[in-house]
Structures are given as C-alpha cells and as structure tokens.
Amino acid sequence: MVLTAQWAEAWIRECSRVLTENRTALMELDRAIGDADHGENMQRGFAAVVGKLDGGSQENPAAVFKLTAMTLMSTVGGAAGPLYGTAFLRGATALGDAAELDPAAVVAFLTAARDGVVARGKAEPGDKTMVDAWTPAVEAAETAQSAGATSPEVLNAAANAAQAGATATEPLIARKGRASYLGERSAGHRDPGAQSSALILQAAADTAGQQL
C-alpha cells in the first residue's frame, strides 16, 4: 500500500480493532504491575478516534494523526493518553503536509513520536515503559531505511523491533510510571504500554503491507 491518508486511516482503524482484541490481555498486564486499566483506556481512546474518522476523510496523513492525537489526549486519560497523544502530535508535525510517506518520512514520523514520548514522560530506555518499544523501533526503522527498504518494509522492521523490545521489558525493574511503585516486584511482568506500542506499530506494518 502506498502510505497515503487512506493508509493512515486504515492504520488507526486497525489499531482500534487490535486493541479491542487485546483489551483483556493489556488489562491483565496492567493488573500485575499497575492499576488494571490500560486495555480499557486504549480501547476507549481508539474507538473514539474511529468515531471521529467516521465523520469525514482527512486530507493527508498528518491530518489523520493530528486528529488521532487530539482525540487520544481527550479520551484515554491516565499516563498513556498524554504520551500517545504527544507521540501522534509530534509525529504528525514531522510529516508536514506530505500526501504520501516515503521511507525517510516514516523514519521521521517514528523518531518524532518517540522523542515526544521521552520529552513528556522523561523515561529512559530500560525504565520499563513504552519507550522500550519505541526506541528499538526507531533504530530498526533507521537501519532498514539506510539499507534501502520500502516504507512498508521500514514499518515492518519497526514493528518487529517494538515487539522484541516489549518482550524484553519483562525482566526489567520499573523506574517510571505506576509499576515503579512495585520496585523489584515489577520484574517478571511485561510492561503494558510497551506491549500496546508494539501492537500499534504492528498494525501500521500490517495495513501498510496490504495490497490495494
């Protein structure tokens, strides 16, 4: 698929589907080391974005992501709401009014999104947060792009790295977010936000990889 506004919409709709499917799993992750609401929050937020998207089509990818950002910010709440909101907002800004995202634009989007999360949440890699999904995703995307990959290929590399990063949060001791209150007892559980980030990036790759 060419990464147009149409793709951007398809991605976000796919996010809503996937997060609904994974609602309980994300709640369970959050129940273990947090407050058991991450799945609910993400489902609610992306369902709201889909509602907004149903209202009319957007002119370019950045417009879709801005709408996504604003809606997540006002419907997710918790830590994840402002973090994902900032990620999509900064990502959108990095795209300007491009109608189609080439591999460099995809990398720019992911980098800006990750930087947004870090700027808001002040977490470092290894703190057992969604940053541990986004950072390897950005790195993998850069590597793929330098190696001449297509946009869908870049997203695919990012998604795989994000999932690996999410899985790798399991042994970590949390230092940010609610899980940090647990101290050493947070080890042995996957970070819910890292997992939802991996799901979101996988949705991007999946929709980008589809034939149209």
Partner: protein, 333 residues
C-alpha cells in the same frame, strides 16, 4: 464481581449524576466534558482550587467541592486520570480573576494531563499554579523513579489550601501553604483485601486469608510488601513507623492524625487503629491536636486503611478550623 452498578461504562457518569442531584444546593455538575464546580463558581477575587484524578476514591475529589475547599473537581474514569479537555474548562470555570491552583496527586497520568491543561489554560489567560502531592512513604522517592504517590495528604491539602483561598490569600500564598502542608504530611496504607475495577471485573490483586499488603496505593496497585496478617495494633505500628521516621516528628510536635478507610472497612475498625496510633504518638511526646477518622480517600470497596500524620503549625490549625461546607466535610456552617 457484585456491585451496585448498571454498566461498568456508565459508573462514573451515573454516580456523579446522583451526587449532583443529592447536593444540588452546593455543587453543579457539568456533564460533557465532565467536571463539578461549586454552585457559586467563579467566586470573584478568590483563588480557584481545582483537583481531580481517577474516579473510585470517593468522596475525593467531588465530595470536597464547596465553600472552604475545592472550587472544581475533575473525575476521570475509574482509576484513570482525567483528560485536559475536562481540566481546562474546569479551570476556566472557577477563575475569579485571582488565578487557579491545581492540586495534583503525583501519578504520571495525573501529572501529564494536568500539565497539559495548565499550559492551555495559561494560554487562555488564566494564571495557573500547580502543587504536587506526594505524601506516601510506602514508595521510595528518587530522581530516577516516578517519586512518591499522593494519597491521604491530598484531603488535608485541599482543606487547608481551600481555607486560605477562602480568606482571600493570593495565588502565590495559597500555593505556598498547599506546598507547606504537603511537605509536612506523610501517609501509609494497608490492604486486607483487593478492590475490583468495574471494567476489569476481577480483583486488582489476590490476597489469601492470611496475607495483607503493606504500603498499598489507592488504585489497587500492589504495595511495599506482603506480610502475614497481624492484629490492628501491630499493623498500625508498621504504618506509623515509616511515617514518623520520614516526618522526623519529635517530642513536642503537634500533629493532625488522619485515619482513613479504604472503602470496605467499618468505622469501628478505623477507631481501633486510631486508638493505637494515638498511643504511639503519645509515647513519642507528639500531641494530637486535630483528628479526622473516616472514608475520605478510598479505593472502591477495598478493605484497609491508611494513616496520615500532618505536622501542624499555628496557621494550619487556624485554617483547618475555619468553616467548610462540602458534601463530605462540613463544620462551622
């Protein structure tokens, strides 16, 4: 999970609707985006106080909206911080020209959402200050963590800062006293049983008949450690020790002793805890000048309690005693 609810999705809106109807003389409910204000907001020339956070801690915060306490409360979904699109209009609605203080419990979600809202409200021309409440000694405080949580101390900050605003203090002065209360209060909680988030449908953690969770948060987040069940005096001692250690309360200090129920614990048990806490304080030469015992900052139907100790100065006592008239705290009027 058995709860007196209709639908996990409508718990907050229906509950706030009932609350608004029951206390229509005191508060006004703004349904969309959802926030609650004093009936007479904005009070011209008075600093506005706004607090908020996830729902499930009732009466906090909406129960403390009224004269001598909060001007607005912003409830999020259960255990989920509210969003800026609620906090911003709440902030604008209670600005009487003297600026607005955000009282924010130190949770990443609350901090981020209030931060965004404060920026945007400032952009709309309202002067906003924030004070972060972080009184929970169960959590290690360090630059490299999310820091201590805001728990019981929040109620005391809302009351005392609310009194300062009511007497006409400036935004800087109200923020300063709020900060001073926060700096002088420490809290710690215990859970005997878990709570169940309505939309999750299963208890937030599991405790056997023999276990309790020491250092529990107010969101069913696990605590500092899990120990075997003890008697009330033993548990009280365990909660007080880190509080008094961190507060460095000593002979001659005057304190406010706040024994708070988590929602599912009978008042009779809170008084048993209160009794022991007073004994311990008396042994250390600390005098209990004011007390508060009851369910004020809860975690749904969790069984358990928290203790907060606030080191008092004359001004705090004076402000504490001024009239307050809210759905959940009232005296002098």
């Amino acid at each position: 999970m058995k709860k007196l609810i209709n639908d996990p999705q409508s718990v907050v809106t229906e509950s706030v609707e009932g609350f608004g109807a029951a206390h229509a003389d005191l508060v006004e409910v703004h349904p969309d985006p959802l926030f609650i204000t004093r009936k007479d907001a904005p009070v011209q020339g008075k600093v506005g106080l706004v607090s908020g956070g996830g729902s499930g801690h009732e009466p906090l915060h909406a129960g403390f909206v009224g004269r001598g306490m909060l001007d607005a409360a912003v409830p999020g979904a259960v255990f989920t911080s509210p969003t800026p699109d609620q906090i911003i209009p709440a902030t604008l609605a209670v600005d009487g020209g003297a600026g607005v203080l955000h009282i924010v419990k130190n949770y990443t979600g609350d901090v981020l959402n209030f931060e965004t809202a404060a920026e945007m409200a400032q952009a709309e021309g309202v002067e906003v200050r924030s004070v972060l409440i972080n009184d929970d000694v169960a959590v290690e405080d360090s630059l490299y963590t999310a820091g201590r949580r805001g728990v019981g101390g929040t109620v005391l900050v809302e009351r005392i800062a609310g009194a300062a605003a009511e007497r006409g203090d400036s935004l800087d002065a109200v923020a300063a006293i709020a900060q001073r209360v926060n700096d002088n209060v420490r809290s710690m909680g215990v859970a005997l049983s878990a709570c169940t988030v309505p939309h999750a449908g299963v208890p937030s953690f599991e405790l056997t008949e023999q276990e309790i969770e020491i250092g529990i948060g107010i969101h069913g987040e696990p605590g500092r450690h899990r120990i075997a069940m003890e008697n009330a005096d033993g548990i009280t001692d365990r909660l007080l020790e880190p509080i008094l250690g961190d507060l460095k309360a000593s002979n001659g200090d005057r304190v406010l002793l706040f024994v708070n129920g988590m929602g599912g614990t009978p008042a009779s048990e809170l008084y048993i805890v209160y009794r022991r806490a007073r004994q311990v304080l008396a042994e250390q030469g600390v005098s209990v000048e004011r007390s508060l015992v009851g369910n004020y900052i809860t975690a749904l139907e969790m069984q358990g309690a928290s203790i907060s100790v606030l080191k008092l100065d004359d001004e705090m006592v004076e402000l504490w005693d001024t009239p307050v008239w809210t759905p959940a705290l009232r005296w002098g009027v």
